[in-house]
């Protein structure tokens, strides 16, 4: 399978430079990769980003703390809930707020549903990149149910704005938990169906095994987080290392891969969806009664100081570094974007591979340009 180790280019070959993107069907938005090719073999690849740069970090500086939350929705727009969670977690830590248990559990449910939704998008588009069209539609049908649940909870489907500093803005609507439970209970069967389409498929295996291999040491060196890191066999998950909300009260496994290739990252994400289902089931079973909002002042005014708070987003460690000067607006609000840092490793992963592998690797890194460019 790995017959594609980089070999010396033919002595009289001519290099060809191709600009993949920013308008290209498989670059997940507006990523542009300048690829130097020898025939179909990639000699070098250079990602060029910034086409979606909106200056989110600058905008943060003029917003109140609650006003920044809608802006975080638009970073990793496939995982708005985890973005919210990271931001409000940072501000809460800074203010010393303890979130009521019910709110914390609701947050975990929302975040895990969001992780499932994000992985569903990843699976659909990744399969589409590798040429299998159909999983896209099967997966998106399930995602639709998740979006319906979000719509019912907070009124929006994509840009949720569903958390506030101090807790949750709304309580769960009536019957929501039942519908959510019904969804997560049937999801493992759906996941098994998707796996029947792909996991054992020889073409899928040929296309993913041994493609984009990165060793554990290298993955740490390149700062990978999330499934790309775990696919290389590093058992590391913010939910376990620095448990936030009430993740220390639920039981789940961290799936890890062995070879650090595209196939392992695929397996890791599939298993992560099952673990998220487990977490949601436990959260719904344990969901305590009580208020959903802590007693926080109406005007959020954290003390002078700086804090870094991160959550395990679907794409990797999503951190917010908040510097406060004691006013109602953040002095500096830095996002540690998981996709931005994961994308950096792309040239390493694709060097010596074929063009088709680069598409597979871009898919397996699961990038969202909204977060990369911010």
């Amino acid at each position: 399978m790995s017959t594609l180790q980089a070999t010396r280019p033919f002595p009289d070959s001519e290099e060809m430079e191709i600009s993949f993107g920013p308008q290209h069907p498989a670059t997940h938005g507006v990523l542009r990769v300048m690829v130097k090719l020898d025939g179909e073999r990639i000699i070098d690849a250079k990602p060029i980003i910034g086409y979606l740069h909106r200056g989110t970090e600058k905008i943060f500086e003029r917003e109140t703390y609650n006003g920044t939350i809608p802006h975080t929705d638009r970073m990793d727009y496939t995982a708005a809930a985890t973005n919210n969670q990271a931001l409000v977690g940072a501000v809460e830590k800074m203010m010393g707020v303890t979130v009521p248990p019910r709110a914390a559990y609701i947050r975990m449910v929302l975040a895990e549903l969001q992780r499932i939704a994000s992985h569903i998008i990843w699976l659909g588009t990744h399969a589409l990149d590798i040429g299998a069209q159909t999983p896209f539609f099967y997966t998106f049908q399930e995602r639709e149910i998740i979006l319906d649940l979000y719509e019912e909870y907070c009124g929006a489907r994509l840009t949720l704005n569903c958390m506030r500093v101090g807790g949750q803005p709304f309580n769960l609507p009536e019957g929501w938990t039942d519908r959510c439970r019904a969804f997560v209970d049937q999801l493992p069967a759906r996941i098994a169906e998707w796996e029947r389409l792909l996991t054992n498929n020889r073409i899928w295996k040929l296309r993913t095994i041994g493609v984009g291999v990165i060793s554990a040491a290298n993955a740490v060196e390149w700062g990978l987080t999330g499934p790309p890191l775990r696919g290389s066999g590093v058992k590391w998950d913010i939910r376990k290392v620095f448990p936030y909300d009430r993740y220390d009260e639920v039981d789940f496994e961290i799936p890890i891969g062995a070879n650090g290739d595209t196939y392992d990252r695929y397996l890791v994400r599939m298993e992560e969806m099952r673990q998220s289902v487990r977490i949601v089931q436990q959260c719904l079973a344990k969901l305590p009664d009580g208020p959903v909002m802590a007693k926080v002042p109406k005007v959020i005014k954290p003390p002078k100081g700086e804090i870094y708070f991160s959550v395990e987003g679907p794409k990797g460690e999503l951190g917010f570094y908040v510097v406060s000067d004691g006013s109602t607006n953040p002095y500096r609000l830095r996002v540690r974007p998981a996709c931005f840092i994961n994308l950096q490793v792309l040239p390493e992963l694709v060097r010596g591979h074929l063009v088709a592998d680069m598409i597979a690797v871009i898919g397996t890194l699961d990038i969202v340009l909204g977060e990369i460019d911010r």
């Binding site: 990149d129 590798i130 040429g131 069209q133 159909t134 539609f137 073409i203 040929l206 598409i359």
Partner: protein, 350 residues
């Protein structure tokens, strides 16, 4: 058929027109059925707005493509760019002249004496099919090259390598049938299956599967659709084509699908014959006209094409080559040997 001129000119002319129309319409409606079946597999509905249940969608598409602006990239090699779509479409249509769609028929008593419903039966029919259809690759290569687009060029190069590689095992799998039939004529091959009393798919099961795989690869269909892999090469060799020129590529692709399915039907599924053509117990199946049998078998293949497209991921280029040269070629050669030995032991071709 009194006047020989009628037999010589008019009848073939009518047949040509009918076959061309049928093939083009089939190609158009194949696109409709592909979209529909694919949509159904993907829990969608598919085209359903133009006409009842979307039946007029292919017509609407064709009209749209006719009136669309025809864009020629300013730095394209203009002449080649113009010729390339014709180069791929013409062979795809010409080949249908030798496909036997059915047994001699009077068209439900319309004619006084039975007439073959195909254009001609030449004694090297299958050779003609293989030869002419492989000309089509020039259309792909030239189209990719002349567009002056790197994606197109890569698509064209991929296509050239792919088509040439898969002709070889395909040829060998066809030879296995020829050994059994003892003739190159398409009609004779069908008749040999009638004499043998069994479709050649049973003795030639390995050749059949090799032919199917190669056929899918020859028509650039999923999972071998590398020349136009949209996630890698945008649209491959026809990235720069638009309007009617693009429609020609499209037509050729679907005509080729019909062609590969027709040839598979003739070679392996007994053409217009019913299952077990000599078994008296199944004689009630004879009420179904031969060309319906033919159409049904072709339809089955076409459905499989669409089914594959809906299910499989895409091979990578080197894996495609490895599959062709390292798996299919040795297997087809070994199969040839086995079939040859079998034919020899059974006393030679009928």
């Amino acid at each position: 058929m009194g006047n020989p001129w009628i037999a010589f000119l008019l009848v073939p002319l009518v047949k040509i027109i009918v076959i061309l129309l049928v093939v083009i319409l089939m190609a158009a409606y194949l696109s409709y059925f592909e979209r529909k079946i694919l949509a159904y597999m993907q829990i969608r509905i598919g085209p359903n707005r133009v006409g009842p249940r979307g039946w007029l969608q292919p017509i609407a598409d064709a009209l749209k493509l006719f009136v669309k602006e025809d864009i020629v990239p300013s730095r394209a090699e203009k002449l080649v760019y113009m010729i390339a779509p014709a180069l791929i479409t013409a062979p795809a249509l010409v080949v249908f002249s030798v496909i036997p769609f059915g047994a001699d028929t009077t068209f439900f008593g319309l004619l006084k004496q039975p007439m073959p419903p195909y254009l001609t039966d030449i004694n090297i029919g299958i050779l003609f099919v293989l030869g002419v259809s492989s000309v089509g690759v020039y259309g792909v290569i030239l189209g990719g090259w002349s567009s002056n687009n790197k994606f197109s060029l890569m698509g064209g190069m991929r296509s050239a390598a792919q088509l040439v590689s898969y002709e070889v095992p395909m040829g060998f799998s066809v030879v296995a049938v020829l050994l059994m039939a003892g003739s190159l004529s398409m009609v004779k091959i069908v008749e040999a299956q009638k004499q043998a009393g069994v479709w050649f798919v049973f003795p030639g099961i390995v050749a059949f599967f090799i032919y199917i795989v190669c056929g899918v690869a020859e028509t650039n269909r999923n999972p071998f659709d590398l020349p136009e892999a949209e996630s890698e090469l945008v649209a491959g060799f026809h990235t720069e084509y638009s309007g009617m020129k693009w429609a020609f590529y499209f037509l050729a692709e679907y005509a080729n699908m019909v062609l590969i399915s027709s040839v598979a039907t003739v070679l392996f599924l007994g053409g217009w014959l019913r299952p077990f053509p000599n078994a008296a117990a199944l004689a009630f199946l004879d009420v179904i006209p031969p060309f319906i049998w033919f159409a049904a078998k072709v339809g089955f293949f076409l459905f499989c094409y669409i089914w594959f497209r809906g299910t499989f991921p895409r091979y990578r280029f080197d894996q495609l080559m490895a599959l062709g040269w390292k798996v299919l070629l040795p297997v087809s050669l070994a199969n040839l040997l086995v079939v040859g030995l079998g034919v020899l032991l059974m006393g030679g071709p009928k």
